[in-house]
Amino acid sequence: MTAIAPDPIPPPYLHLHGLTKVYASRDGAVRALDQVSVSGAHGAFISIVGPSGCGKSTLMMIAAGLMPASSGVVAIEGARVDGPRTDIGIVFQSPVLLEWRTALGNVMLQAEAKRLDRTSAEGRARALLAAVGLAGFEDKYPHELSGGMRQRVSLCRALIHDPPQLLMDEPFGALDALTRDQLVLDLQRICHERRVSVLFITHSVAEAVFLSDQVVVMTPRPGRIDRLIDIDLPRPRTLAMRDTPEFSRYCREILDLFLARGVLREP
């Protein structure tokens, strides 16, 4: 990582600047992202919403340093990222657990990769699992857990090394509505307790508004930023808040954008 330029004001924690991504494919170049810039302060919860194929997942892969951008810069506290970022925690849409490891073993994989002290890491892993309601399931294997439980294990694995940032790619997309609500509440609490920054990718407008400090609305392919919406609702947010006029106004604003862009069509 190298510093881009000296700056009198401290740089934002996360700074994605002018990210463009074009994939080569047999049917010609695929333009996935076009000049996407997002920045967030320490501890900020930023959601990215947009239709399928708008490059949300590409954006996350680039932000994680797992994929190079065709042009543009990813910077963390002013330092340029040019390889996989190992300090962060990632949660994918599927839990991506190793079937041959227990819930605890899967969380500990992160600790092994980071060569953390085993005993203290195991204590933290057990505490984390308990904090997301998995006390007593530490020695269960993934196939013995429900989909929601597996995704909780995946969240614990992303948090065991106390990362400054979480990258989440539609983490609750495959879950039922009740489990989703519970995980959204758990995530809000955990992020608040640990002051962790989050870059959260979702299809769900309500989920984005509920969790975020800022919602980034993307256009259909090629993905551009349509609007940045700051969500000014008090925290901690409660489920009842979803019925308030303020909450509905934010959701309406995003839906209106989708209607205007033809992502949604009303008869």
Binding site: M61, A64, G65, L66, P84, R85, T86, I88, I90, F92, S94, V96, L98, E99, W100, L109, Q110, E112, A113, K114, Y141, H143, E144
Partner: protein
């Protein structure tokens, strides 16, 4: 007033009782399934044996055409030492051929997986080597390596190594990309990624290849003995065939079958030791559900 009497709530069983009785019935069903899993195939085999025995005697089938099971058992008892020595020789050939398949097949698969240009260069040759009938090569191997152990081991190897290579290479490549993304984002090195994630992920596929390979190694060893053997079960079969000793022929076939099943079970047992049982069970369940 209605005719039916209302059911008094007191007689309704407690949920715990219902749960206990459901669990009891499940255990009984499982026990019955376990017993029938042993009894049914045993019954079929015993039934066929009786049919065979009675049929050959009733129709007076000559012994040199189809000996009854009792005559085969008698032949095994009479020639047990001959059969034991021959089985020992053949077992050695099979095991060495299988071991060579692993020793060559797994590194070859690793190179195919790790180095795409090598895969492109070697795969066509590998596939065409499988199209070629190995029996046709057997005489050539005899010319090169004589009549001893070596040509049989090589034929067993030639027939058996292909599934090891293909299953290992495919198994290593078949991992979900997210698992590799995850490893990279965790900062796991190439070595750890391979041994902690990719290899364990490929083990079920590798063992599927090994199980095919061990049965093929049996075929290879017998083919080698047919073509130019002076010992082993294949050679014994040729000798028995030449002297019209059909009982001994059947005795040899029985020994070969037992040998093949036993070696297969050894590989399966190893699989159970290497891959914990619940993984195999969960994969079976996943495969069976959909």
């Amino acid at each position: 007033m209605s005719e039916t009497e209302p059911i008094p709530p007191a007689t309704a069983p407690h949920l715990d009782e219902v749960a206990a009785s459901v669990e009891r019935r499940r255990a009984e069903r499982a026990a019955r399934a376990r017993v029938s899993a042993v009894l049914a195939p045993t019954g079929v085999v015993v039934g066929l044996m009786i049919l065979w025995e009675v049929g050959t005697r009733a129709f007076g089938v000559p012994v040199f055409l189809l000996p009854p099971p009792s005559a085969i058992v008698a032949a095994i008892a009479k020639h047990w030492w001959l059969l034991a020595v021959a089985s020992g020789v053949t077992t050695l050939e099979i095991v060495l051929g299988f071991a060579l398949s692993i020793a060559v097949g797994i590194p070859l698969a690793l190179m195919i997986f790790l180095w795409p240009p090598f895969a492109r260069a070697v795969l066509p040759l590998l596939v065409s080597s499988q199209a070629m009938p190995k029996v046709a090569v057997a005489p050539l191997l005899l010319v090169w390596f004589g009549f001893g152990l070596v040509p049989k081991v090589l034929i067993a190897f030639l027939i058996a190594f292909f599934p090891v290579v293909i299953n290992t290479a495919v198994g290593l490549a078949a991992i979900e990309p997210e698992k590799i993304h995850l490893a990279r984002s965790m900062g796991l090195g190439a070595w750890d990624t391979f041994f902690k994630i990719r290899l364990p992920d490929a083990l079920p596929a590798i063992f599927a290849g090994l199980k095919i390979s061990i049965t093929l190694a049996v075929v290879g060893a017998v083919v080698g003995e047919f073509v130019g053997g002076d010992a082993g079960l294949g050679y014994l079969l040729m000798v028995a065939n030449g002297s019209m000793d059909t009982q001994l022929l059947f005795a040899g076939i029985v020994c070969l079958t037992i040998l093949g099943v036993a070696l297969y079970l050894v590989v399966e047992l190893t699989e159970r030791l290497v891959i914990p049982r619940h993984i195999i069970a969960s994969e079976r369940a996943a495969g069976g559900t959909f």
